[in-house]
Amino acid sequence: MKLELRGITKRFGSLVANDHISLTVEPGQIHCLLGENGAGKSTLMNVLYGLYTADEGEILLDDVVQHFAGPGDAMAAGIGMVHQHFMLIPVFTVAENVMLGHEPTGFAGRLDLAAARAHVRAVSERFGFEIDPDAVVGELPVGVQQRVEIIKALSRDARVLVFDEPTAVLTPQETDELMGIMRQLRDEGTAIVFITHKLREVREVADKITVIRLGKVVGEADPTASNAEMAALMVGRAVELTVKKGEPNLRSGGLVVQGLRVIDDAGQIVINDVSFEVRPGEVLAIAGVQGNGQTELTEAIIGLQNKATGSITLDGEELLGRSVQGIIDAGVGFVPEDRKEDGLVGEFSVAENLILNRSANGAPFFRAGTIQRKVLDAFARDQIDEFDIRTQGPDTAAGRLSGGNQQKVVLARELSRTLKLFVASQPTRGIDVGSVEFVHERIVQTRDSGVPVIVVSTELDEVSALADRIAVMYRGGIVGIVAGDAPREVLGLMMAGELPDAAEKEVAS
């Protein structure tokens, strides 16, 4: 089926997320959408899928104008979508998730689970997955959840398929597998829209590339175009893709983690016997596919995991068993991976967020149990200047800032203290290229000032850019720790659980 979007415009208040975007996807074609974070790609796809109503423009399928009142209509018209953020219900089983919305039923609306299971098995077989239809989705690893999403999208014989950043949560190997599926579908005549930031993937599968910037189509590129060309199109200027950093200047002391074991509320071992150390003056990057224990590891360091055993010492002092406040007081700075959930209080002002973890320490921000508003205001203004936080002022609610600026608030809060350890989880997730450069610079600065730094990232580019050493996590353990310049293929294999030696051998062969 041929898909055509004509002059789609979508506004959120004063923000124009899509500005007269036109696009054509032929059947049997993989059409890549490229663009920075916030360029408007997901918005465009949500319009196509009937989740948003366009303010202007029209959608045509096989040259017939469509009017979608909701996703139901879009699906009926043959559009399927794998959403950027999983649209799966964690407490449902795979079969339930897949059948939701078009349930096979028996008498009195009785769900025909047998039929649903059979259907899941049939689709998985076709693409060579192995999925238990009765597994509860929330308990599956993200990579498998992604497959469930794909099964969902395919199970209604979609003729137009949208993949919105499906590879962000996959290992390189899983990514290859997915691209195989996309090719298979293309060959069967499906029209595919594929959104990604990863130029490597674009080059591999795209038949056609459209680049979007600030809600507008800024150009089309050929799959053969160079990385730099495509990046420049996306950002609107030439981009420095690497971070300048010198040799590490190692000192003694630092963080030593030994035999760390973390058990979650359900009694599962989420961190198993992890040991490593980070010396002052180096960046240890922790790589791995999302959900392999990175979150729990950082949380254990900051004291958020209460069932942790083993030992975590900082400059010889034991941290394990202390309260979060105690660990903060010991000089640990922490950027949580989900800034909205754990990093900021959205309703609080920027100023208040800047002292969120200092309320227990009194002066200078608190005296006699009372906030010192003048001191706070001055401090906030300084930080806003120093970190270039784009806000109307210190009193603006942090929730109103853009993602990048929210991240800067968190960074400013942590880096304005004297630190003995800095832990940053996904420090640049969802922020624009300009801000990424800034954040990376600050991280390197911190390292150079003699603080041990841990950076957790799922982006191999970021890991390679920042790391002095790289620890790869897989299923709650550390597969191995390799040098910062380890080739990405090796890292990719390690992320799938292969030991470093085996991975290197395999890459070499």
Binding site: P71, M81, P90, V91, I131, A135, G267, N272
Partner: protein, 429 residues
């Protein structure tokens, strides 16, 4: 792929994390405490005499004789049994074995029996009456809880069960009294409950007002409104507006003759039989039907539901109305099923107890029903105990159902979670 880190296993592509076996000592400890308490009743506080359990009631056809047991000995045997059960639970937990659900149930049964025996030294325990009263007191709670479960499973917190009860009780009394038909009365009650639900839905879904606020305010509004109309309308002409016919008891042939439970369960009014249908029906439908799947989807992850073509807000709206009408049947029980006239504020906070049953029941229809029954039972137990002339002051006995609920909630809390989107409005882009 070759070497894989130990300690985790991969089966059919999914990762099975190794699980640490954990021991929770909550259960053995609480069982132990109860066992010791009953043991105290047997030994230092032992009462001699005979405790009589009456298994038949006046309407039973099959007249079972009263069963008399020697008080002290029976309590002692019960206490021993309890100690054994508690010990067994401790051993199981110490060996990291799971303790089946049967154990707490058997334990509770023996403990209650022992306690009743002790209380009824030289007295009489009318078993049928005790259970019958418990069922009767639970009926509105069960309906309220069912309504609450449905609403919250769809993602709308319903603090307004009390208001639904009240308006339903009011409208059923009014309509049944004016038409002389209790069927119309029940329908009016459902309409009354649905009306409150519609107001809740309007403000919660359309105007995105915090659902707890709407609920609380609706309670106040309906309390005021029904009291006002009771004073300004019903009281002016009680005969016309407030003398509804009462639901007749219908004894189900054969079933009614089952000893002990027959008269308790099968000599009831229409509303109670509706309850027998409603509970399993809702429980089945919630987990096994298309309706239930979509309902839960909307309450767990509305956007995911939206992406598969389920209209979130209409789903919520209609299910709230359904929930309101179910709670409304519970409201009708106050007037048609039980007393036969509306009185201002007659629901007396039971809507909140129903809400407690929803939460305590972990948003599950069956468990919520059990929670409601537990509450009804402890309320009726209080009646029995004060009739038996217990040495404890009456006020403390009256605390019993509430204390039991607190202990139960504290003991079981944390094991269940609310629907993920419960209380969160859904707004489309």
């Amino acid at each position: 792929m070759s070497a894989i880190i130990a300690a985790t296993t991969a089966a059919d592509g999914t990762i099975v994390r190794e699980t640490v076996r954990q021991r929770s000592l909550k259960l053995p400890i609480s069982l132990g405490v109860v066992a010791v308490l009953i043991l105290l009743l047997a030994l230092p506080a032992g009462r001699s005499g005979t405790s009589v359990f009456r298994l038949a009631d006046r309407t039973s056809t099959l007249a079972l004789p009263d069963v008399g047991v020697p008080t002290w000995q029976t309590v002692f045997i019960c206490a021993l049994l309890l100690v054994l059960l508690a010990a067994y639970a401790t051993v199981q937990v110490a060996r990291y074995r799971r303790v089946g659900l049967w154990l707490p149930i058997v334990f509770a049964f023996v403990a209650v029996f022992g306690f009743l025996t002790w209380s009824a030294a030289d007295g009489l325990v009318p078993v049928t009456g005790l259970l019958f009263g418990a069922v009767s007191l639970s009926v509105p709670l069960v309906f309220g809880a069912l309504g609450g479960v449905i609403g919250e499973r769809a993602g709308v917190v319903n603090v307004a069960i009390e208001a639904q009860f009240l308006l339903a009780a009011f409208s059923s009394a009014l309509v049944a009294s004016m038409t002389g038909s209790y069927v119309l009365g029940i329908l009016a009650a459902m309409l009354g409950g649905a009306l409150v639900a519609a107001a809740l839905a309007l403000f919660a879904i359309r105007y995105i007002v915090d659902q707890v606020i709407v609920g609380v305010v609706l309670n106040v509004l309906i309390t005021g409104l029904t009291s006002f109309l009771h004073g300004a309308l019903m009281r002016q002409n009680e005969a016309l507006f407030n003398t509804p016919p009462r639901l007749p008891r219908i004894a189900i042939p054969l079933l009614h003759d089952i000893p002990v439970l027959g008269p308790v369960l099968f000599n009831q009014t229409l509303i109670v039989y509706l309850m027998y249908i409603a509970v399993p029906l809702v429980a089945w439908a919630l987990y096994r039907s298309r309706w239930g799947l979509r309902l839960r989807a909307v309450g767990e992850h509305p956007q995911a539901a939206d992406t598969v073509g389920i209209k979130v807000n209409p789903t919520r709206f209609w299910n709230l109305l359904l929930a309101g009408s179910i709670a409304g049947i519970g409201g009708a029980y106050f007037t048609l099923g039980s007393v036969g006239a509306f009185d201002k504020e007659m629901t007396d906070g039971l809507g909140f107890i129903a809400l407690a049953a929803v939460i305590f029941g972990g948003w599950d229809p069956i468990r919520a029903t059990l929670a409601a029954l537990l509450f009804g039972f402890s309320m009726n137990l209080e009646t029995l105990l004060s009739n038996l002339g217990s040495p404890i002051p009456g006020e403390f006995m009256k605390m019993l159902p509430y204390v039991v609920t607190v202990l139960a909630v504290v003991g079981f809390a944390g094991k269940v979670r609310a629907p993920a989107a419960d209380g969160k409005p859904y707004i489309k882009g």
